[in-house]
C-alpha cells in the first residue's frame, strides 16, 4: 500500500517528461516526405478542400486528378515567395497543354494582400487559402516558400525547400510530365 503513492508520482513524472519530449520533437521540421523521397518512395499527397483565392468556391488537389500538379506554398509577406512568382507564372504557361498545372497555397493572410500580388504578376493559376495552416502542416511545411510536384497518381514525386529556380524545374519536371500515370 505504501508503494502506491510513490508509483503514482513516478508515473506522473514519466508522463510529464514524455509530453515534454513529444512537444520538442514535434516542433521540429517534419522530414517524413524527404525521407520517403530519399528512399525512392512516393507518398500519397495530403489533400483537403480549402477556399479558393478570390472566389466563394472551394478547391483541392483532387480537382486536378490525372494532371501533374506543382504545389507551391506562399504568402505575400514572404519576400522569397514573391521573388519566385514570375518564374512560377512562366512555368504555368509552359505547363499548359501538357496536362499539368501550378496550384498555389496562400498562407494565413487577408485575401486582399494575396490578390495584390496575383494581379501584379498576372498569375493565371489558382491558389487555395490555407487558413490555420492545416494543409501546410500535413506537408511538414514550416518555412516558405516550399514547392512539391505531385504526379498523375496523386503522389509526391519531388520537393523543394525554399525558392525554386529554373535549374531545379528543368531537372525535375520533364521526367514526371513524361510519366503516363
Amino acid at each position: 500500500m505504501r508503494r502506491a503513492p510513490a508509483i503514482a508520482v513516478i508515473v506522473a513524472a514519466a508522463a510529464l517528461v514524455g509530453l515534454l519530449t513529444y512537444g520538442i520533437a514535434s516542433s521540429g521540421t517534419d522530414t517524413t516526405i524527404d525521407s520517403a523521397l530519399a528512399r525512392g518512395e512516393r507518398l500519397r499527397a495530403p489533400d483537403m478542400a480549402l477556399p479558393l483565392l478570390d472566389s466563394d468556391a472551394t478547391g483541392s488537389i483532387a480537382d486536378f486528378r490525372g494532371k501533374v500538379v506543382v504545389l507551391n506554398f506562399w504568402a505575400s509577406w514572404c519576400e522569397p515567395c514573391k521573388q519566385e512568382l514570375p518564374l512560377l507564372q512562366k512555368t504555368q504557361r509552359n505547363l499548359e497543354g501538357r496536362n499539368a498545372t501550378l496550384l498555389g497555397v496562400d498562407l494565413e493572410e487577408p485575401e486582399r494582400d494575396a490578390m495584390k500580388w496575383v494581379r501584379r504578376y498576372g498569375l493565371t493559376y489558382p491558389s487555395l487559402r490555407d487558413l490555420d495552416r492545416k494543409l501546410a502542416r500535413d506537408y511538414g511545411t514550416t518555412s516558405y516558400p516550399e514547392t512539391f510536384v505531385i504526379d498523375r497518381d496523386g503522389r509526391i514525386a519531388a520537393r523543394q525547400r525554399g525558392p525554386v529556380d529554373q535549374a531545379w524545374l528543368d531537372a525535375t519536371l520533364p521526367k514526371i510530365l513524361a510519366e503516363k500515370g
Partner: protein, 179 residues
C-alpha cells in the same frame, strides 16, 4: 510522563471541513471568473473597437505570439488589416469574425467560450479539484497508516500506542484534574 496522543475525531472532522471549504471557494472563484469572461464577451458586441483593444486578444499566426508583442512583417500586415477594419467602424466582435475568416480560428488568443471550447476553461478547474481530492485522500491514508504504526515516543506499556478507547479515557481523566 504524558502518553503519546493521536489526533481526535473532532480534529479530523475539522480538517475535512476546512478542505471542503477550500474546494468550494475554488469552485466559486472559477465560476465567477467564467461568468466575467462571458459577460465581457457579451459587452464587446456593441463597443467601438481600437487596435489596442484587439491586438492583445489575437495571435500573430506566423509568430506564435500575441499580436501586441509580435514584431515581424506578417504581424505588421495583420495590424494594418485590423486598423483598416477599425477605420470602417466595425465592432470588436465583427473584426474578430473577419480575422477568423482570413486567418482561421487559430488567430484568436483565447478559444471562443462556446460548445466544445468551454472545455479549455473547465478542464483546469476539474484538474485542480481532482488534484485536491487526491491530496485529501492520500493525506488521510498516510495519517491512518502513521497512526497504525508503533510510536517512537514514550508509551505507557513500553511499546504499543494507545487505543482510541484508552485515548478517550486519558482525555477524560486529564480533564478531571483541571480545576
Amino acid at each position: 510522563m504524558r502518553a503519546v496522543r493521536r489526533p481526535t475525531l473532532a480534529r479530523r472532522r475539522r480538517a475535512s471541513a476546512l478542505a471542503l471549504v477550500a474546494l468550494l471557494v475554488l469552485l466559486a472563484t472559477t465560476a465567477g471568473r467564467l461568468a466575467q469572461v462571458s459577460s465581457a464577451s457579451a459587452a464587446d458586441t456593441g463597443a467601438h473597437a481600437t487596435l489596442v483593444d484587439i491586438e492583445d486578444e489575437v495571435m500573430c499566426t506566423q509568430c506564435g505570439t500575441v499580436l501586441n508583442i509580435a514584431e515581424s512583417l506578417p504581424a505588421d500586415r495583420q495590424r494594418a488589416y485590423i486598423s483598416d477594419l477599425v477605420a470602417q467602424g466595425l465592432t470588436k466582435d465583427q473584426i474578430k469574425e473577419r480575422l477568423v475568416d482570413q486567418y482561421g480560428e487559430g488567430v484568436l488568443a483565447m478559444p471562443r467560450n462556446e460548445g466544445f471550447n468551454r472545455a479549455v476553461y473547465l478542464l483546469p478547474v476539474l484538474a485542480a479539484v481532482m488534484a485536491l481530492g487526491l491530496v485529501f485522500v492520500l493525506a488521510r491514508r498516510w495519517r491512518r497508516q502513521a497512526a497504525d504504526e508503533p510510536h517512537a515516543g514514550f508509551s505507557l506499556d513500553g511499546g504499543e500506542a494507545l487505543s482510541e478507547q484508552d485515548d478517550r479515557r486519558l482525555d477524560a481523566e486529564l480533564a478531571a484534574l483541571d480545576p
